[in-house]
């Protein structure tokens, strides 16, 4: 990811902006990398004609080639217009809230692996309500405990779909 405060040289604006060319190049290169993975593995399983017809890599090999060519074009075009590129990806004011959402979300998913879904969900909702909504504690607690509880009832009790549970739920006997 590009950092929002990265001085991009050409712009001298008050608010630091990230130009589109940076993320464009990075995404293009990542896709080229993926294309290389697709091609190399297709070559491993065989891209030609086997005893019973086309081999396993026959179709993905061409998919990988087209992917490599088209992402290569995007990278090339980005590099060729590098100096003239003015398109703005996002300003700093826009990127900050995106990361304010993304970072807790990553922590949430990691926490889910160890703690099950209910406790991290309550914490995520509670964190957002306090940090960004400025709600009073009683309402925050009510919503952040109430919502996972509703999901528990709907999924586990009504539709009988089990959701991931952690040590807390085990202690409670679920």
């Amino acid at each position: 990811m590009t950092t929002p405060n990265h001085p991009d040289g050409s712009d001298r604006e008050d608010s630091p902006v990230t130009l589109t060319r940076g993320p464009e190049l990075i995404v293009g290169l990542i896709i080229m990398g993926l294309a290389a993975l697709v091609i190399s593995d297709s070559m491993r399983v065989g891209t030609g004609w086997g005893d019973e017809g086309p081999q396993a890599g026959y179709f993905p090999f061409y998919v990988g080639l087209i992917l490599l060519a088209s992402s290569g074009l995007i990278v090339l075009r980005t590099l060729l217009t590098w100096g003239a590129a003015k398109a703005v990806f996002a300003t700093r004011e826009e990127l900050v809230p995106v990361f304010q959402m993304l970072v807790p979300m990553v922590i949430y998913v990691v926490a889910m692996v160890y703690l099950g879904i209910y406790l991290p969900s309550a914490l995520l909702i509670g964190y957002f309500m306090r940090r960004h909504g400025g709600f009073a504690w009683p309402l925050t607690l009510g919503v952040s405990i109430g919502v996972p509880l509703v999901f528990f009832l709907v999924f586990e009790k009504w539709f009988l779909v089990p959701l991931p549970k952690g040590p807390i739920e085990n202690l409670l006997g679920f």
């Binding site: 993975l37 593995d41 399983v45 890599g57 996002a90 995106v98 949430y108 995520l124």
Partner: protein, 499 residues
Amino acid sequence: MEEVNNLFGGFAVALTLPNILYMLIGITLGVLIGVLPGLGGANGIAILLPLTFSMDPTSAIIMLSCIYWGALFGGAITSILFNIPGEPWSVATTFDGYPMAQQGKAAQALTAAFTSSFIGAFFAVALITFLAPVLAKFALNFGPAEYFAVQLLTFCSFVGMSKEPPTKVIVAMMLGFALAAVGMDTVTGQLRMTYGFPVLLKGFDFLIAVIGLFGIGEILLTMEEGLAFKGKSAKLNPKVVWETWKTLPQYWLTFLRSTAIGCWMGITPGGATPASFMSYGIAQRMSKEPESFGKGQIEGVLAPETAAHAAGTSALLPMLTLGIPGSPTAAVLLGGLMIWGLQPGPMLFVEHKDFVWGLIASMYLGNIVGLLVVLTTVPYWAAFLRIPFSVIAPVIVVICAIGAYTVHSAMFDVVMMLVFGVVGYLFKKLKYPMAPLVLALVLGDMAEASFRQSMLLSQGDVSIFWSNKLVGAISSLAMLMLIWPLLGSMKSLVSRKAT
């Protein structure tokens, strides 16, 4: 009139008490999904799909398709009252819908939007009723080469008709095909692109991709825009509805034109969003007073809403008859059908008549129920949007996580959802289209299978795709679609030289 008889049989299937109840639940959930940012028709259905696994397939698909109708209706509410399109296809509705609300004509705008959605959908369902059996019968004779040609046409149409740069459409599409190929090869049983990771054996499920790309990605985008909900309130009373309805017949030509655009864009995978924009643009161009558009012209609400609903509905036609979905939401419904063991395609019309006609009948009923529900409950939905985003956003993240987990009860899927979410955000910002990625992921295995079977038949000779008139015509059309952007840029080059 075999279709009419079948349709009445379908009504008998759909008009049972539990099914009508599922319709109501579906519509209500759908409107909720349409109103909330970050939840849309495609990922909303993807999240709710696991809940229907234990249901009877007919009831399940009725509920799921009703969620879709509900989402189509719901998108208009936020566009008109809050100037926030709840769904991408209702962006064009904000152009005139929000000015109307500002002028105190919110009720008229909403009535117009709901009614035109209903009309668009109704015509599209009628089209499905009479065209689907014909198309299905026709497709019964399709061999692998024909199937691959139709799939090729679907994907090439994306290149030809998207407003995104062609290279990016192709990248998105090929990425979808590559992701679809991960896991065990269905023909040889060999493992592909798993690179020794056991979690990759199953491959990537497109439901996870849909939830991440459209759900998490949308939340990140909404954060960036820094939402402040400042909306108009609305109350619909029967008098305003009636008064508005009386003015609508004079716009019959707009309805007709928008329906035609919508149906065309829905069957070919243009989708509801471009259909709504195109319809708005044409309505403006054809209007006697084009300058009144954007300032609260009722036609500016009618045109995009009719087209969006017509496109959204008719996207189910190729899904049911050929097994090729015309939109991401149709793809999710297709995924549902396959989970219940129903293989969409021409054989569905032969082997599961009850199911097909029950579904088609439910489209009529669902849209009537939907219209009644939204007309009577608008104020409550507007209240939902007054809940601050700091509460809605984490709740939607939790819903998406639950949805991703329940697909296969796997934590890896939740992690992948997050990855797809970031990809969705970056793709949206960098103007990569997401629909081709999702459709390629869904159709990847099928396209590969039909391609390999064709190659097997012809011993590796691609001329099989031009071996008879039918397959040749489809393949040629596909090639035309593929080079369409090139033709366009050549034309503009020539005209620039001429001036």
